[in-house]
Symmetry: C2
Subunit: 207 residues, 2 copies
């Protein structure tokens, strides 16, 4: 459906120039979003900045929402790599997740407008952006599960806990963006929700 850079499945490969175009579009989007948030990401502007025609922009990303969710995905992939390089060092799974999310939030706070643009797009997305949203969702889950550090396939209760952590994460961000929650409350809520994460089982297989 949409062209993807890294998913070799289900998409015709892009030529080098196409890859470059795609990258220019994403970069232009980030730049505009950084400056003025969701509202400043105007499709004509993006197209101009990226030196592509409007129609081309829409061929690559079928809507503003798709575009911004793709940026979010990009960023999350970066975050995941960072966390891989310097993994959180807590002793308990809950503490590691707190650290991972806290670090993520610290990074997001540095660029509040970009964050606003990505998060608003993500939460506003409807089913038409299902694939992209799904990808972001899976990535977030993967990041949290990485921090939990469990080896085998997670049992359903753990998955529900992880979903609740993610819910809190997303919604706390929204609350923070709309001025309803302070940054301190976000940190606190992350800590609170992570108490749901069960401690490492001493008998079971662990790191």
């Amino acid at each position: 459906m949409t062209a993807r850079p890294d998913s070799p499945s289900s998409a015709p490969p892009l030529t080098e120039r196409q890859e470059a175009r795609r990258r220019r579009i994403l970069d232009a989007t980030v730049e505009l979003a950084r400056r003025g948030g969701f509202g400043a990401v105007q499709m004509r502007e993006v197209a101009d900045s990226a030196d592509v025609a409007l129609g081309t922009l829409y061929r690559y990303f079928p809507s503003k929402i798709h575009l911004l969710v793709a940026v979010l995905r990009d960023r999350l992939e970066g975050l995941r790599e960072t966390l891989h390089e310097r993994p959180p060092g807590g002793r308990e799974p809950g503490a590691r997740v707190v650290e991972a999310l806290t670090r993520a939030f610290r990074a997001l706070r540095e660029e509040p407008r970009l964050t606003e643009a990505m998060v608003r797009a993500f939460t506003f997305a409807d089913r038409s952006a299902g694939a992209e949203v799904e990808a972001v969702s899976r990535l977030t889950t993967a990041i949290v599960l990485d921090a939990v550090g469990r080896q085998g396939p997670p049992p359903p209760e753990l998955l529900s806990v992880v979903r609740v952590v993610e819910h809190t994460w997303h919604s706390a961000l929204i609350g923070w963006l709309s001025g309803r929650c302070s940054g301190e409350q976000v940190y606190g809520d992350i800590k609170t929700v992570c108490e749901l994460i069960p401690a490492e089982t001493p008998g079971g297989a662990h790191r």
Copy 2:
């Protein structure tokens, strides 16, 4: 504490005809949203259905977002009254909250398109709709605290837990609307997060 439907504070009182107009607008909005969700709530349509001029609609509700959040607020007030009449009957605070939210979700499932319209508006709202969003937020908190059944002013840890419950509630709804979570998962996540709610303290003041 919470502003009543027609908050007597900080707003000039409306004449009877103005009150009627406001009500017509809200009713027309609900009707359109019920039929076609967020997208079907078009400002010109709303104005036509409610028999007011477009400019008047915008005087009452400065944006589509404000309008739909006001509808949400209206509904939440109704929900709160319902819960007052037939309060959840669980023995523990957590169980009561689960029941309250479960009943709410059951009601929302009956009118998915209306739900979609309200929730998307709420999560998309930015600071310009701060007041309305704040009202909805306070109402939600009040509903959860009602179910918790605590008497005095809640301590900060409890408030953080309640916020996490609300985060989960909102974000699970979004996930459900965007097809990412099943209804069963929503129920499960509500139950999971409510485990954070501390049990009734036998020594303290209780019902």
